[in-house]
Amino acid sequence: MTVPIEGYVLLSMALFCIGLFGILTRRNALFFLMSVELMLNAAVINFVAFAFYHGNLTGQVFALFAMALAAAEVAVGLGIILVLYRNFRDVDVTVPTTMRW
């Protein structure tokens, strides 16, 4: 039994929108990072699903690269949050406003 491609696309959309919801409503920088990861993983689900849809492995290989990109992003993101907490004693993204304009 094969799940139709619509199922994968709907799952990926739901994951993306959960991530977007987190970014729009939260103020904690750690939640921001987690939400961005959710959105990135939604794209990865699409890559793998459409690789199977087309009978081609390019999407699966690219999904691996997207995961490596996510790891790099988390490393830099956590470093930024560390500096944020060290300077402002808080991880609220609305507190640092000096670089806003």
Partner: protein, 149 residues
């Protein structure tokens, strides 16, 4: 009193409606789109080995006729990602470096005076503060990246 970061629960859920509306819109579009059948992969071929051959440009080793075709070579992308991960590691180390009195303190350097510290002295490694360590010596022992208070 602990000085851990607090969970910011305040804020409005109103902008989140935008995400829900976006999901409804995209779901309506998806359900009204006619997708074809899944092509799938042929039986008896190892997907993992095919991914490995594609990742390292080993096209002669890839399966031949009637197999998974048109998988692009990815060796250049693999090397670029390797450089990117290296750069991310360097960037995170630069960000984690802290300054004390205008002098950069390397996060990976061994703390001075660790040889004469017994384990019972309670070197703080979990980000918390140990009650057995007095306030004056905890600055040398803490390895949690926090600053002296």
């Amino acid at each position: 009193m602990s000085n851990r970061p607090r969970l910011a629960t305040e804020g409005s859920f109103l902008p989140g409606v935008l995400a829900v509306v976006l999901f409804a819109l995209m779901a309506a579009i998806t359900l009204n789109t006619q997708f074809g059948e899944m092509a799938g992969f042929p039986e008896g071929i190892s997907i993992v080995s095919e991914i490995g051959y594609a990742m390292f440009n080993l096209t002669p080793l890839q399966s031949g006729e009637g197999a998974i075709g048109d998988t692009e070579p990815f060796l250049a992308a693999f090397l670029l990602i390797a450089v990117l991960l290296d750069a991310a590691l360097d960037a995170s180390l630069v960000l984690a470096k802290r300054e004390e009195g205008g002098e950069a303190v390397s996060p990976l350097s061994t703390q001075h005076g660790t040889s004469d510290v017994t384990p019972t002295a309670g070197a703080v490694t979990d980000g918390g503060s140990s009650s057995s360590v007095d306030a004056d010596s905890s600055g040398d022992l803490e390895s949690n990246g926090g600053e002296r208070r």
